[in-house]
């Protein structure tokens, strides 16, 4: 088994405990995420995804249970919690709302500065992070408020990348973007993943995107982990996913229906490219039989 980077044991969190609004947002979560994996985190609104990710870098202190990052219990010494916030970077939903500095440069530099890095290091990291998110030199001296929504979002993501976290968690980074913008952000995340070997946790409602990028999928339902495993294995369970009100990729649904009709297509097809290959293979077989 590969090295574990994030592990939880019996993790639970209760909002407004002891009041009539008491709500158990996550309930007995036991997960073990391998270092270097790319995890898609899926669940509909209210399933506990956001509460879970805020535990992973210590923004929320669990009601019960433990969180380990790189084998260390993050709450063992609460004074050290900052250390884990630098290790586990969190990009919130609509992160562009959190920009506040006078220039793009300063905004991206905010994290590294707080880490106590030297001016030189900060400068290098800001430029690298900007490059990673497709922001050219000329952007750095602009005010973030002059930029378009998509550009602002890139600045916000660059701000987290500049801290070079070992684990990068993104909460719906593509919400509200057009297909081109979505593709750009996702491919940048993928490049970061491949280049640095960082572990990625991507919260998304788009099964298509998760299918294309994630090595593993974690499904949350009613405050619990409903499934966790390799992407292909999870997406085989089309019926269960639909029952939870989730959506599997359109193409996976088509192939599930073809199987029902007795056509011998592969059990889990996730992308258009795979689908095409599967159909061509089948037709080829038919062709050979003809010959």
């Amino acid at each position: 088994m590969a090295e574990s980077i994030i592990k939880t044991e019996g993790l639970s969190y209760v909002y407004s405990a002891g009041t009539p609004y008491e709500h158990r947002a996550i309930d007995d979560i036991n997960i073990d995420i391998e270092k270097g994996s790319f995890v898609g985190l899926i669940g509909h609104t209210g399933s506990g995804k956001s509460t879970l990710i805020q535990h992973l870098n210590g923004l929320i202190k669990p009601t019960a249970g433990k969180v380990y990052v790189g084998g260390e219990d993050i709450w063992e010494n609460p004074k050290d919690i900052r250390k884990f916030r630098f290790k586990v970077g969190l990009v919130f939903q609509y992160p562009e709302h959190q920009l506040f500095e006078e220039t793009v440069y300063k905004d991206i530099a905010f994290g590294p500065k707080n880490m106590g890095l030297s001016e030189n290091d900060i400068n290098r990291r800001v430029r690298e992070a900007a490059k990673h998110t497709g922001l050219t030199e000329e952007y750095l001296e602009k005010s973030p408020f002059e930029l378009s929504g998509g550009e602002k979002r890139r600045v916000a993501i660059a701000g987290v990348l500049a801290m070079q976290p070992e684990v990068l968690i993104l909460d719906e980074p593509t919400a509200g973007l057009d297909p081109k913008g979505r593709e750009f952000i996702l491919s940048e995340i993928k490049t970061y993943h491949e280049r640095t070997g960082a572990t990625i946790i991507l919260v998304s409602h788009s099964m298509e995107d998760v299918a294309r990028f994630a090595s593993h999928v974690l499904i949350m339902n009613h405050s619990k982990v409903a499934m966790y495993g390799e992407t292909r294995e999870v997406f085989k369970r089309v019926d269960e996913l639909c029952e939870m009100g989730l959506e599997v990729p359109q193409i996976s649904r088509v192939f599930a229906k073809l199987r029902e009709k007795g056509i011998d297509v592969p059990e889990s097809v996730l992308t258009v490219a795979e689908a095409k290959e599967a159909v061509l293979k089948l037709l080829e077989k038919g062709g050979e039989a003809n010959a």
């Binding site: 081109k180 229906k257 009709k261 297509v265 095409k276 037709l283 062709g287 003809n290």
Partner: protein, 289 residues
Amino acid sequence: MAKKSFIEANSISFSYPSYDGVIPPLVLDGVSVSVDEREFVAVLGHNGSGKSTLAKHFNAILVPTEGNVSVSGISTAEEAKLFEIRQEVGMVFQNPDNQIVATIIEEDVAFALENLGVPPMEIRERVDDALKKVEMYDYRLHSPNQLSGGQKQRIAIAGIVAMRPKCVVLDEPTAMLDPRGRREVMKTIRQLNKELGITVIIITHYMDEAAMCDRVVVVDDGKVIMDSTPREVFGSVELIKERGLDVPQVTELCYELKKEGFDLPECVLDEDECVAALEKLLKGGENNG
């Protein structure tokens, strides 16, 4: 003279006001488009293409710098007729949280009617009716902050429906919702069109939503580059992709297979069509063997 359409935009151009002496670029550049009553139209385009700006011309939130827009024959440039136009064409925006003003749901739905001076008895009737139509009547006395995104968006739609408009323009109404919320909202929007006969213009990034409409208008760089049925528009896979847009997965798969020389229908739009087409293709092969 030919009968005028319900909404008509005649070669309109628009640019936002200049500041610092910089002349801003044209956001809309000679756009002509018309929408008939009871139509269900999707407007597609990437961010910055001008599609939201175009939508804001349909109920006089913006008026064109050049050209003109008319709603039921009234020019949107006639300021004295603004109320009339906005009662005919209502608008729903992307973020449900920005559109809710009251602390009780039924009060929120009544807000516009109160402003229009509708008599109290009639307000009661119209609010109940609108809430039933979006299937949120049971929640009428709840507070909006306890609702899901999809429910909030349906409340926003109810607020418009209560005004009894002829047309609803929705600017990416599902962009901030999860799949369940998206389904709820799309179902509601279809009902408005199919059952109540309300004209619907929906701006969206979701190709499967556009595929459900009667007609798709594609905006790129301030111009209308396509305006046809979903089947025609999504049939042009290459062109759509070139413009930074996408086609539904099933459309792409069948297109790719057709390119390889297999016998498939011209443009496949939904799952069932795709299953049927592939079944025929694959079973046909087996029978031959």
